[in-house]
């Protein structure tokens, strides 16, 4: 099942603290070489746990584009 939303990180603002990784129930986030967080959009279920916990408030949920 594919969720309607997924989360996206503003990599310019991300402080690569990894708080989001610890929250994500799907392990959909990793820190790219210590620089910023990246969400695997295929795995993300759009639960918003990461967006609500990020101390820099730099993750947002966006609508998945429906590909028909």
């Amino acid at each position: 099942m594919i969720s309607k939303k997924y989360s996206v990180v503003d990599t310019r603002r991300c402080v690569s603290c990894g708080t989001c990784i610890k929250e994500c129930p799907k392990d959909a986030i990793y820190i790219h070489k210590g620089c910023y967080a990246v969400v695997d959009t295929d795995i993300c279920v759009g639960c918003s746990l990461c967006t609500r916990t990020c101390p820099a408030d730099c993750i947002a949920l966006v609508d998945r584009e429906v590909v028909s």
């Binding site: 402080v15 690569s16 990894g18 990784i21 210590g34 101390p55 408030d57």
Partner: protein, 195 residues
């Protein structure tokens, strides 16, 4: 869903033990240097933030406390708090204070100043802490560093706790000097690799 727990998910206990030890014997404050050196080693040699992401007891503590007792407003912090200007400004300020502390240690080492058995909170308030040290049990400069470093660690932990309550639990991480320093090292390492 419960995530798999690793041994290092319990390192928040270490951050409490650290302050407890320094409450009885200040020399234990030296152990806190691990929290300074390890993140840098991971960043410099590994090019990663494994320390922040998995090993930092302090970061974990700020997550754990509000989960156990509801005490964080959980509101996003103002965006300037995680802005580059503030993060680097705070890093410079913090390192200057660290340098001042080293200078004080140096003065005690050279016999110019005498040992002050106090810890400084918020870089302003001197708090007597003499019961944690028996004069003469080590060199004065070793003790001076310990008092200075413990004060720095306690001050930053208190700031972290304040922003934990006011904003999201791990708000401290958005401007933590160690976090800024290690991220910057990783970014530099990465941009070099791409060339």
């Amino acid at each position: 869903m419960n995530k798999t727990r690793h041994w290092y998910d319990y390192l928040w206990i270490w951050s409490i033990v650290f302050f407890a030890l320094g409450f009885f014997n200040i020399i234990f404050a030296w152990l806190g240097m691990l929290d300074f050196i390890l993140p840098l080693l991971f960043a410099i040699f590994g090019g990663n933030k494994f320390f922040c992401n998995h090993l930092c007891g302090r970061g974990q503590l700020f997550s754990v406390i509000p989960k156990k007792i509801k005490c964080s407003r959980n509101k996003p912090a103002p965006s300037w708090m995680s802005s580059k200007v503030f993060r680097y400004g705070f890093l410079v300020f913090f390192m200057t204070m660290f340098g001042t502390m080293l200078y004080q240690t140096w003065r005690v080492f050279g016999g110019v100043s005498s040992l002050s058995e106090t810890i400084k909170l918020f870089w302003t308030f001197r708090v007597p802490w003499g019961w944690t040290y028996t004069a003469g049990s080590t060199s004065d400069w070793i003790a001076q560093f310990a008092f200075g470093f413990y004060g720095l660690m306690l001050t930053s932990a208190l700031i972290g706790l304040i922003v934990m309550v006011l904003f999201r639990p791990r708000t401290w991480c958005s401007f933590c000097p160690m976090g800024s320093m290690t991220q910057t090292i990783c970014k530099i390492k990465n941009s070099r690799k791409r060339d």
